[in-house]
């Protein structure tokens, strides 16, 4: 079993721990990955909001490169990249004008894209391809008694993804359960974490993170797991500030779901990047 792997900028920088833990877990599961050669940014944040067609065009370049690797599906772990890829595919598939324009540009660069690449999120691969039974077998140190709040953020499931229930996603819960933990049911699984608003409109950004942290805690969660670098960053880095500002303790470990899996699989904390976390996640180890 081998997949192409598109890390995107985040997993090489602020989301480095996502990459480290994801690769460690996949390795343990015998899933081989090959990083896409000569990839570029998916165009998520800046391009997408300033000029959508630029974003589509640069994502199409990644797809064109991936398409040369015939027969291989590509794992895209970052929620923003994942949505960007699906959006590009959707636009190119349904809008002949976009398709023609993008392909013209690709041709100039000696590339072409015909729509054959299959984009998959690691959650999709783990739950729908490997299956939770196979995952459960790898949980050498099941996380008994640990309550987990799965947090998908707003981009991963809606509007394009089809691998999970768009209104009440469950793949992360399935994984947590396979790892021996207990998922908590809560209604804010796919609410927005405010994205970059924590830096542009801090008050609103912090408020939105507060809502999520508080609800997870009040539902009795011991840890929030997520699949988005920006969500993880927001929820983890600002929880101290929020707690101080609102004089209410909303601190809770926030980690990538792959880190939680790694823990259950008995992968040393260091190899999962847990020692570099800001939130008190080591309590779990």
């Amino acid at each position: 079993m081998k997949y192409l792997y598109y890390p995107g900028c985040s997993l090489k920088s602020s989301g480095k721990l996502y990459e480290i833990s994801l690769l460690a877990v996949l390795k343990r599961l015998g899933v081989e990955v090959e990083e896409l050669e000569n990839w570029n940014c998916c165009g998520a944040t800046n391009y997408m909001s300033i000029n959508e067609s630029y974003a589509i065009e640069i994502t199409a370049r990644n797809l064109a490169i991936a398409e040369r690797m015939v027969g291989i599906e590509m794992i895209v772990p970052c929620a923003a990249c994942f949505m960007g890829f699906l959006k590009t595919q959707k636009y190119m598939e349904s809008d002949p004008v976009t398709r023609e324009k993008v392909n013209d540009l690709l041709n100039k660069a000696g590339l072409s894209y015909t729509g054959k690449v299959k984009i998959r999120h690691p959650l999709d691969v783990l739950v729908n391809h490997l299956g939770t039974d196979a995952l459960a077998k790898t949980a050498e140190m099941p996380l008994k008694g640990i309550k987990v709040a799965s947090y998908y953020g707003c981009q991963l499931i809606r509007p394009y993804a089809t691998f999970d229930d768009q209104w009440n996603p469950h793949t992360m819960d399935d994984i947590a359960r396979a790892m021996g933990a207990t998922p908590v049911d809560w209604p804010l699984k796919s609410r927005c974490c405010s994205g970059s608003m924590t830096s542009t409109m801090t008050g609103i950004g912090l408020r939105m993170n507060y809502v999520i942290l508080k609800e997870a805690k009040s539902r009795g969660a011991d840890v929030i797991i997520t699949a988005c670098p920006l969500c993880q960053f927001n929820l983890e880095c600002f929880q101290g500030k929020i707690s101080r500002k609102l004089k209410e303790d909303v601190r809770i470990p926030v980690m990538y779901f792959t880190q939680l899996m790694g823990l259950a699989m008995g992968i040393p904390a260091k190899q999962l990047g847990l020692k570099q976390m800001l939130s008190p996640s080591l309590v779990l180890t």
Partner: protein
């Protein structure tokens, strides 16, 4: 192009007011047609279908000695018969007529007058070149079987059955469920008069049962239909109840005697809010009053190891565990489809939490909850048996929504108001209606809305975004929070409630597509049965002798369903009382001299109308069975088969006419 010198064609082009004349240069077409071969006369006129228009044909035919008529106007599906009749009145065989569709096929669909006019000229040329080769034919008259089949025993089917049977005709009423009554039987009160649904429905149900002219076939489905208007052969499959219907008197002793002491299977009639046993009757007034066994849950059918206490308790020996589906054949002349609708599945709107939060109910479940004969005896309590202190009713669930169904379901506003009233009456809770627009067109409907406004029910105008258990303060703890934009004050509101009622919409029945195929009718895009004309033929279908009524044609409330059932009954009665129908003479026949006896045609005929005459070594078509599709004609290698009205030469001359000047 072949010429027939004897043909004298009169050509007429219709303006249809501005409908045609605005996009097709009718004068230029008329002038063009005048110069075509065989055309003796060419005119344009404002409304050809009007009396003066038809009179004109009559007079012209005499003065100009016309023997062929061509009219360029609307679709032949609309007015072919009108002009055929006019042709006949003018003393010309009605099949010496050809119609040109320049409205639906040209003026209404094009934007370039010049090109539309060119197209009209091409079509006119084709029709004129075709009509020359028309043959004089007679319509075949066949008697109409006066018996009627009605499919579906909801309020529409019941009303139609009584109407027709009261006129002295024989009616077969086929219902797929064990009882007639349909959805109306589940309702508590009806809007806007608040009269009790059971009180007005059950007398009609028993009238159906008692009526000597009605044969009720419950728990039965139509498996196949053959034949044509006036003469349909229908196969009805009667599903096994495992009870001999004639013997059961509805004493229910068997139900008490069932080995299951407690009822433990979901009760369909109460929308799963209560339990029933494997041997059951859907509800006390079920018609017929006959129990049945659910073979999926009955121990006897599952294991074969049941003492059959139910059968032993029956002192009339009505039990028959060996019953199998039985197919019964009926002969009828007309068919009425009253197959109803299905409520929108609330789980398809996951943002409202149905199936996820136990206190989110569908409107149909609440109909049962407020019903005195319902699972709680009319006591409105939540699943934990507590009484709700606040209730939110969400309108338009699954309706008027790009993601689900785009149409308005027509009844939800009114039944939501009714439920608001009943819930208020039963619980004295605070009631919030979340609506997009209030739609109350109907006699006494707006007044009912006014009444509710004065009853202290809250109305919030805005689509609900979500229902969740996400509480942000003490006040919301343990409640369901409805989030919606209140568009009248321009703010997002959070309303915490104990109970949420989803006003689910109406959609086509899940078996609508199967039914459509069995009866050979069409569905409109959204899946409701397609009427022949949305305004002028709302209960007829494109298949003669098959009529539709009630919510199978589109969302409808009870009064409209009953009215439509009456209309469909009247149409059926008109057909029956005329005594006969005239059939299009578009059947095929074989020229024995040309037939080489290859028998290719025989296997192609879906109606087995073609047989092989061994003595003559030629095939023969039974024109009484032939339906006139023409498939055999197209396959005949020796050109021995001719289809009336669609002869090779006629179609070829149409092709030449279109392409060759």
């Amino acid at each position: 192009m072949p010429i027939n010198d004897e043909a004298r064609v009169g050509f007429y082009i219709c303006h249809c007011g501005h409908n045609i004349a605005n996009m097709v240069d009718v004068t230029s077409v008329a002038e063009y047609a005048a110069k075509l071969p065989n055309v003796v006369l060419s005119r344009d006129y404002k409304y050809m279908c009007s009396d003066p228009g038809q009179e004109m044909i009559l007079k012209d035919a005499e003065v100009f000695k016309l023997n062929r008529i061509v009219v360029a106007s609307c679709s032949p599906l609309l007015h072919e018969n009108t002009f055929r009749n006019a042709t006949a009145k003018a003393g010309i065989n009605q099949f010496y007529f050809q119609m040109v569709n320049i409205r639906e096929n040209a003026s209404w669909v094009h934007e370039d007058k010049e090109l539309a006019t060119v197209k009209a000229k091409d079509l006119v040329r084709a029709a004129i070149s075709r009509v020359v080769f028309h043959k004089a034919l007679e319509k075949k008259k066949v008697p109409v079987n006066p018996d009627v089949l009605i499919v579906g025993g909801g309020i529409s089917g019941i009303s139609a059955a009584l109407n027709i049977a009261n006129a002295g005709k024989k009616v077969y009423l086929v219902e797929k469920d064990p009882t007639i009554g349909g959805y109306m039987a589940k309702f508590d009160k009806t809007f806007p008069t608040l009269d009790c649904a059971a009180c007005i429905l059950t007398p009609k149900m028993s009238a159906v049962l008692k009526h000597p002219g009605i044969t009720l076939m419950s728990y039965s489905e139509v498996a196949a239909v053959e034949g044509y208007v006036g003469n349909y052969q229908v196969k009805v499959t009667r599903k096994p109840r495992y009870i001999i219907e004639e013997k059961c008197v509805g004493c229910f002793a068997c139900i008490d005697a069932c080995i299951f002491k407690e009822a433990k299977f979901s009760d369909e009639f109460n929308e799963g809010l209560s339990k029933r046993k494997p041997v059951y009757i859907p509800f006390p007034q079920a018609t017929p009053q006959v129990v049945l066994i659910d073979d999926k849950t009955c121990i006897h059918f599952k294991t074969g190891k049941c003492p059959q206490s139910c059968a032993k308790a029956c002192d009339r020996n009505a039990f028959d565990f060996d019953q199998k589906p039985v197919t019964q054949e009926l002969e009828v002349g007309t068919i009425l489809l009253c197959t109803g609708f299905q409520p929108f599945d609330a789980a398809r709107a996951p943002y409202y939490g149905y199936g996820r939060y136990p206190n989110v109910y569908t409107s149909l479940e609440v109909e049962r909850l407020v019903n005195a004969s319902g699972p709680t005896g009319g006591n409105v309590v939540l699943r934990d048996k507590t009484r709700p202190k606040s209730i939110g009713i969400i309108h338009c669930v699954g309706s008027r929504d790009e993601k689900t169904n785009k149409w308005c379901s027509r009844v939800c506003c009114m039944y939501s108001l009714k439920l608001a009233h009943l819930l208020k009456e039963h619980t004295d809770a605070e009631i919030y209606n979340f609506y997009i627009d209030m739609r109350t067109p109907g006699k006494g409907y707006e007044e009912f809305y006014d009444k509710l406004l004065n009853e202290g029910v809250h109305f919030i105008r805005g689509r609900v975004a979500e229902v969740s258990d996400w509480a942000i303060n003490e006040h919301e703890k343990g409640k369901l929070v409805i989030r919606a934009e209140d568009t009248l004050i321009g703010m997002v509101r959070r309303i915490p409630v104990d109970m949420v009622v989803l006003a689910v919409g109406i959609e086509p029945g899940k078996d609508a597509q199967d039914i459509r195929r069995v009866f050979n009718i069409s569905c409109s895009n959204e899946g409701f049965f397609l009427e022949r004309h949305p305004k002028l033929a709302p209960v007829e279908t494109f298949t003669d002798g098959i009529f539709i009524a009630g919510a199978c044609q589109g969302p409808k409330d009870i009064p409209d369903s009953v009215a439509q059932a009456g209309a469909a009954a009247a149409q059926a009665l008109a057909l029956i009382d005329s005594g006969f129908v005239e059939l299009e003479p578009n059947t095929a026949f074989i020229n024995e001299e040309l037939c080489c006896g290859c028998q290719v045609c025989i296997n192609l005929c879906p109606y087995h109308a073609i047989t092989f005459d061994e003595t003559k070594s030629v095939s023969h078509i039974n024109e009484a069975i032939c339906k006139g599709c023409g498939t055999c004609v197209a396959a005949c290698g020796s050109g021995a088969i001719t289809q009336n009205l669609f002869e090779d030469q006629q179609i070829l001359s149409e092709i030449y006419g279109l392409l060759v000047e």
